[in-house]
């Protein structure tokens, strides 16, 4: 998703009357895992975005919150082709890593 699209979604959400429940945001973003690294290592999204990681390596990896111990979330071990999705609904900076190969790190910035 481009930044422009994300801002448009955010703007649409802000126009909703306050007494209505917030519409579920359908924003999506993707991060691939290649060659023992998260691409892109830093991704910026708008609140309400679901990020989906896809492992394209021959070796399993995880997406694990760097806020532990214990971490607040950890994906199941992602084998080749496996995916993991997580909704980011609050602004902030969220660091994560691969608990199997902890040199692999990434950051999600939610605006």
């Amino acid at each position: 998703m481009t930044g422009r699209t994300a801002r448009a979604v955010l703007a649409a959400a802000l126009l909703l009357p306050h007494h209505l429940p917030a519409a579920p945001a359908a924003s999506q973003a993707a991060v691939t895992i290649d060659n023992f690294s998260f691409k892109d290592p830093v991704i910026t999204v708008t609140a309400g975005t679901t990020i989906t990681w896809t492992n394209r390596d021959d070796i399993p990896h995880t997406v694990t919150a760097d806020d532990g111990p214990p971490p607040s979330y950890r994906s199941h071990p992602l084998d080749t082709g496996d995916q993991y999705s997580k909704l980011y609904d609050r602004p902030g900076t969220y660091r994560y890593y691969c608990s199997i190969h902890p040199k692999m790190r990434g950051t999600v910035i939610v605006r």
Binding site: N35, P60, P102, K103
Partner: protein, 306 residues
């Protein structure tokens, strides 16, 4: 690894690279010397203790590099059985690829075919589910955290777990609890007793950028300085690396499943993908280790599966 320090080491490393050839390693006086198996040195009889190390069987891995990891593990076990003087087997971890029960079952059944008492330590691939409880229950019964020690023929063996609670950004890790246990385990032992440490991730930094080392290994090795013979056996990097520091000989074993690139290879640390047809077995292997009572050092011989 320093290969230019002296001619002996360089020549030995050349021997090591001969695919399809077994090389006997004798480490004495800080200088490892290679000798082809079949030499007088290798044929020396009267072993007090002979054991074999296997590593990184990765049962569950099935990619073009190796579609049959149970098959290559079985070939490795045949090589173990052929060493009729071996009385013990050590597996330095990554038994499975994904810690699944069927993968543990398959590995267990194949390895039992060796008919030898087998001592395991976990690799990071063995602890992926439920904090490793399935691994510990099956492979380190009586050691719920995966570290333990035992004596065999006068040699003190210490199995360490350096793949537990890995820290973001870090390498392998032993942790304060295990280091305290190790200190207690070694206390009171005579400095003349040979020590064999075995753990999955190298206990020396092979390549930090890829996490090929153990953050707090120095604290463990400091406790071993007073011993006259220390041998450290690791896996994880799927290739042979060796180094001697003082009285400590470090050695990593080949995998029985797939080779990994040399440190710093631009392709990254993943499985080597372009193995020529028919060459895979020359890149996999087992490690034979021999200790003669009264001798200072242990002899280490690597054998390829081809």
């Amino acid at each position: 690894m320093d290969v230019t320090e002296n001619g002996g080491r360089r020549d030995a490393l050349k021997c090591m690279l001969w695919a399809g050839t077994s090389v006997l390693w004798t480490v004495a006086g800080g200088v490892p010397r290679g000798a082809l198996l079949g030499s007088a040195q290798a044929a020396e009889a009267g072993d007090a203790l002979r054991f074999v190390q296997i590593s990184d069987s990765h049962i569950g891995f099935a990619k073009p590099t190796n579609m049959d990891t149970p098959g290559t593990l079985a070939t490795a076990i045949q090589a173990v059985k052929a060493d009729t003087q071996a009385t013990m087997l050590i597996h330095t971890g990554d038994i499975t690829h994904l810690s699944r029960a069927d993968q543990f079952d398959t590995a267990d059944q194949i390895i039992r075919g060796a008919g030898l008492t087998t001592h395991y330590v976990p690799g990071e691939h063995d602890l992926l589910e439920d904090n490793g409880s399935a691994f510990y229950a099956r492979f380190t019964p009586g050691a719920a955290t995966g570290w333990y020690s035992f004596d065999q023929n006068g040699v003190h063996f210490v199995g360490l777990n350096n793949v537990r609670d890995l820290k973001p950004g870090g390498m392998g890790s032993l942790g304060a609890e295990q280091l305290a246990w190790l200190k207690n385990d070694l206390a009171g032992r005579p400095a003349s007793q040979p020590i064999v440490l075995f753990a999955h991730v190298p206990l020396w930094t092979v390549y930090a950028n890829w996490g090929w080392g153990t953050d707090d290994a120095e604290q463990a090795l400091a406790q071993l300085k007073r011993f006259g013979s220390v041998t450290v056996l690791n896996g994880h990097i799927h290739q042979i690396m060796q180094k001697v520091e003082g009285e400590v000989a470090f050695h990593t074993a080949r995998s029985t499943a797939f080779p990994q690139p040399v440190p710093g290879d631009p392709a990254g640390p993943g499985p080597v993908k372009n193995v020529p047809a028919g060459k895979l077995h020359s890149l996999l292997g087992v490690t034979h280790v021999r200790h003669v009572r009264g001798q200072h050092a242990l002899a280490i011989a690597d054998q390829v599966l081809a």
